[in-house]
């Protein structure tokens, strides 16, 4: 029972990470019908830039080991800003080099170009930080918090709180503010949005900034749980994409739901057979695609003939 409770909680925390990335896919897919297949490498960039910021703030070189004492909540917040800023800038670069020239062209050229961009980011990271994983202490320490007999890792609580807060904020922004309405208008119908005086290109760039920043944030949040590694991106992004498919790629709330479901599934399967986690997730995807290809909360698009 206690084990189950712990697993559920870890699953929710991991789900928060997936939700952040999945919502990022939703934001750019809504506005441009494209998204970044190299998003995983943005998580890597976010995590490593933040680690470097932490090291610089502690007065060390960027390849020195990070000690628990170097990571206080304040510097963690600063590094968070650094990491998301860098990934946001990467998002703008991605849009102009790999998305805009290819969006709307047949044959999914943008899939290849965004993967190419991701490979460049990953190998740049490899050149700077090297292949070995970097353990990152949590700003809240590693003392397990005991509650009702179950132990909770502080970083997981932090991840869950931050991701839920960010997702709620996003939901409010999308539904209540002018900016959010503009984004939804562009997602619904680009031409109509232009005619209504919305600056579509600005909205689209904004979408990539937001989506990339979310990936950077997710990278920083997950690093203390899994350790930061140059190779961690692909599977994380893939699971986040699976989450988006399960929840419904065109529905932000669906993506959030999908993310948490995916985290829970992974944690529960992990209890039973850790090595079956990935396999279970991709089997689920195939079942969902067979039964409800538009996702749990998605809307089926009807092609006009």
């Amino acid at each position: 029972m206690v084990v189950l409770l712990q697993a559920l909680f870890s699953g929710l925390a991991l789900g928060g990470i997936y939700s952040l990335v999945a919502v990022g896919f939703n934001i750019t897919h809504g506005t441009t019908r494209t998204f970044n297949f190299g998003q995983g490498e943005f998580l890597v960039a976010g995590a490593f830039v933040s680690v470097s910021v932490l090291l610089l703030l502690a007065g060390k070189g960027i390849n020195a080991p990070l000690d628990a004492i170097d990571v206080t909540p304040t510097v963690y917040a600063v590094s968070l800003v650094g990491g998301t800023l860098v990934t946001a800038v990467l998002g703008v670069m991605l849009y102009f080099t790999a998305v805009r020239p290819f969006a709307g062209r047949p044959g999914l050229a943008w899939v290849m170009s965004t993967i190419g961009f991701g490979i460049l980011v990953q190998n740049t990271a490899l050149a700077i930080w090297g292949p070995s994983p970097v353990p990152m202490p949590s700003p809240l320490g590693n003392d397990v918090i005991r509650l009702a007999g179950a132990g909770f890792v502080p970083q997981e609580i932090l991840v869950l709180v931050v991701s839920v807060a960010v997702l709620i904020a996003l939901d409010v922004v999308m539904r209540r503010t002018r900016l959010g309405k503009a984004m939804r208008a562009v997602a619904e119908n680009r031409n109509a949005a232009t005619l209504m005086g919305i600056d579509v290109s600005a909205v689209v760039v904004g979408a990539f900034v937001l989506s990339s920043a979310f990936a950077g944030l997710a990278g920083l949040l997950v690093a203390p749980i899994t350790t930061a590694s140059v190779y961690m991106g692909l599977t994380l992004a893939l699971k986040a994409f699976s989450a988006a498919i399960v929840g419904g790629l065109d529905n932000p709330r669906g993506c959030m739901l999908g993310g948490f479901l995916m985290g829970l599934l992974e944690a529960l399967v992990g209890l039973w057979h850790a090595e079956l986690r990935e396999i279970a997730i991709f089997l689920l995807i195939i079942v969902v695609l067979a039964v409800k290809p538009e996702g749990l909360l998605g809307r089926r698009r009807v092609e006009k003939v």
Binding site: P106, L238, A290, V305
Partner: protein
């Protein structure tokens, strides 16, 4: 072209035979072997990626299936290495069909993601399930094929791989030049249009996946048997990307995979010492090769060659006298019943009900017109009849057969052809090829014949070409046969859609606004064309807004308004029907200027 190809094949074969005599250097031979392996993987992937337009990012998984099949069969089960090699292609093909299953439901990026998922699952299985696959430690002692008791050495491997590549090239080339090749390209251009002319999009996609899986599986088996070892480190996402890079960089022509395999294998060998730079280069290539060369290196070279030597771009001459086109006689199920009977058809999208309990009887040999104001549900009705949209309620019986639940390609094969209001031509294919795709369902040569270009297959292809030319003759498009469909003027594109639909030998032809966007001259020609089609024994249902056209040629007019049938009958009766006039005009005092001419004269003043 034919001679150029033959010369190329002979040169390549001579090179493969002689190279191992010229160099005994093990490294050189290994590089040659790897070019062959990568070519083999790419030659099938080219069919999937460049011709069918499906992106797979998980072919490392299929490579693994081939490699581990050969490894396990020769070590655990002590199969003969030759048999194990053959089996690796078979199992990879089965897995390829499995990967293609989701293609039934999803397309585009979601499908690409599914293929990545497949690759990762296979990678996880071979690295985690150590009892069977050995994980990172791998499987030693994989048996290599041998001739006369001696195992293959580096030379034999080059010859064996070269021979396989040659066979694969010839088979894939004839596959792409025949009906399947056209179907692949048709599916990559416009899936719905392909379905509407009798091509099963799903089967075409599965076939493309299976072809690419088989060659990729053989590539895997080659590597496992040549190294006599395989472990999980071979199977990475990077390998999938590498295969994809070869076909994207090489381009779609048969020479594409070869160029791509040579250049990228050499690049791989040169840069192997600096893995950072190696991967960085792949990233740059993925990002920028697509900017510079839309159809890869072979496409760019081909375009350049045609510019320098214009005779290369001249299409082969077509036979001049081909005779008159005739509709194939089909069976008539029940001559006394209407050709098509629809009962209580209904379709709702949320609160909008574009078709609400409509009954329809279409009589053999008649020209029926379906008219009604914009938004009356005319196109939805045609989509229901042709199987593109499934009705919520109601039934359709066509020529004695119920159409419920049939895919559009099945409906088409029963003899129901159609055109589209928004043109859906295969724009990058020639006019002739567009019509030949329409003949797809009538070409029966089996896969075996197509792959080896047997006499049966060649004869059938010639017959198909001649029949397509007869149809083009019939519709006065003959002189455009070798032009790109997308480059035709709008009016001719509309007519080409009719030609493509005729090629399916329909008993009933549904024309969705065939006169939209035509000038008066072209509209006049169209009236003539529709009459001639009817005279060949084809029943017609057309949607039209040009009332003079409708009134002139129809035997029977059906009027829809807001999803319901409000009137039907001979044109003269319908013109006088007060409900029809009201539907077009609104209730009482709407402006008569808005009336379509046919209705205005007969209804407004009559």
């Amino acid at each position: 072209m034919k001679r150029l190809h033959l010369a190329g094949v002979v040169a390549a074969a001579a090179f493969v035979i002689l190279a191992p005599f010229i160099t005994g250097n093990g490294f050189h031979l290994k590089v040659l072997f790897m070019i062959g392996v990568n070519y083999l993987a790419a030659v099938g992937l080219n069919v999937l990626v460049n011709h069918t337009g499906q992106k797979s990012l998980g072919h490392a998984g299929l490579f693994a299936v081939g490699a581990y099949t050969a490894a396990l069969l020769t070590t655990r089960f002590e199969w003969s290495p030759w048999l194990a090699f053959a089996a690796s292609g078979v199992t990879a093909g089965v897995f390829g069909a499995l990967v293609a299953l989701p293609a039934l439901r999803v397309a585009g990026p979601a499908l690409a993601m599914v293929t990545i998922g497949f690759g990762i699952v296979i990678e996880k299985i071979v690295s985690e399930w150590q009892d069977v696959f050995g994980g990172q430690a791998g499987i030693y002692g994989v048996v290599s094929p041998s001739v006369g008791g001696t195992d293959f050495g580096p030379r034999e491997w080059v010859w064996f791989t070269g021979a396989l590549c040659l066979v694969a090239h010839l088979a894939v080339r004839s596959l792409l030049r025949g009906k399947h090749g056209r179907a692949f390209r048709a599916v990559s251009h416009a899936e719905i249009a392909a379905e509407s002319v009798g091509v099963s999009v799903y089967r075409v996609k599965v076939l493309a996946f299976v072809v690419s899986a088989i060659t990729c599986g053989f590539a895997g088996a080659l590597v496992a048997q040549q190294n006599q070892y395989i472990n999980s480190d071979f199977i990475t996402f990077g390998l999938s990307i590498f295969f994809l890079l070869i076909v994207l960089f090489g381009g779609s022509s048969p020479a594409g995979p070869l160029l791509g395999a040579i250049l990228l294998t050499l690049l791989d060998a040169f840069l192997a010492r600096w893995p950072h730079i190696q991967h960085f280069t792949y990233g740059l290539l993925l990002l920028f090769a697509l900017y510079l060369m839309r159809d890869g290196l072979s496409g760019a070279i081909g375009a350049l060659a045609r510019k320098v030597v214009p005779s290369l771009g001249v299409p082969p001459a077509l036979p001049t006298a081909v005779g008159d086109w005739q509709l194939r006689a089909g069976e008539v199920a029940s001559p006394d019943r209407p050709l098509l009977e629809a009962r209580g058809l209904r379709k709702a999208y949320g609160g909008v009900v574009p078709v609400n309990r409509v009954d329809l009887d279409l009589r053999t040999g008649h020209i029926h017109s379906l008219i009604g104001p914009n938004g009356a549900g005319k196109t939805t009705l045609i989509n229901l009849l042709s199987g593109i949209v499934a009705p919520d309620e109601g039934s359709v019986v066509f020529n004695g057969r119920p159409l419920a639940g049939l895919a559009p390609n099945r409906v088409c094969r029963l003899g129901l052809g159609r055109t589209f209001q928004n043109l859906k031509l295969f724009v990058d294919m020639t006019v002739l090829e567009n019509v030949e795709v329409g003949l797809h369902a009538h070409l029966d040569a089996g896969m075996w014949h197509t792959l080896w270009a047997t006499r049966t297959a060649v004869r059938e292809e010639h017959e198909a070409r001649d029949e397509a030319l007869r149809i083009l003759d019939f519709l006065d498009l003959r002189d455009k046969a070798n032009e790109r469909a997308g480059s035709l003027p709008y009016g001719l594109q509309r007519r080409l859609e009719i030609a493509r639909a005729l090629a399916t030998h329909p008993r009933l032809l549904l024309l969705d606004e065939p006169a939209a966007g035509l000038n008066p001259q072209e509209t006049g020609d169209l009236i003539d064309v529709i009459g001639r089609i009817r005279d060949r024994g084809i029943t017609i249902l057309l949607i039209e807004h040009h009332m003079d056209l409708v009134m002139k040629i129809s035997d029977h007019v059906i009027v829809l308004d807001r999803g319901e049938k409000i009137a039907e009958g001979p044109p003269s009766e319908v013109q006088r029907n007060p409900r029809v006039i009201r539907a077009y005009l609104g209730d009482d005092d709407a402006a008569e200027d808005d009336l379509p001419p046919g209705i205005a004269t007969a209804g407004g003043h009559g």
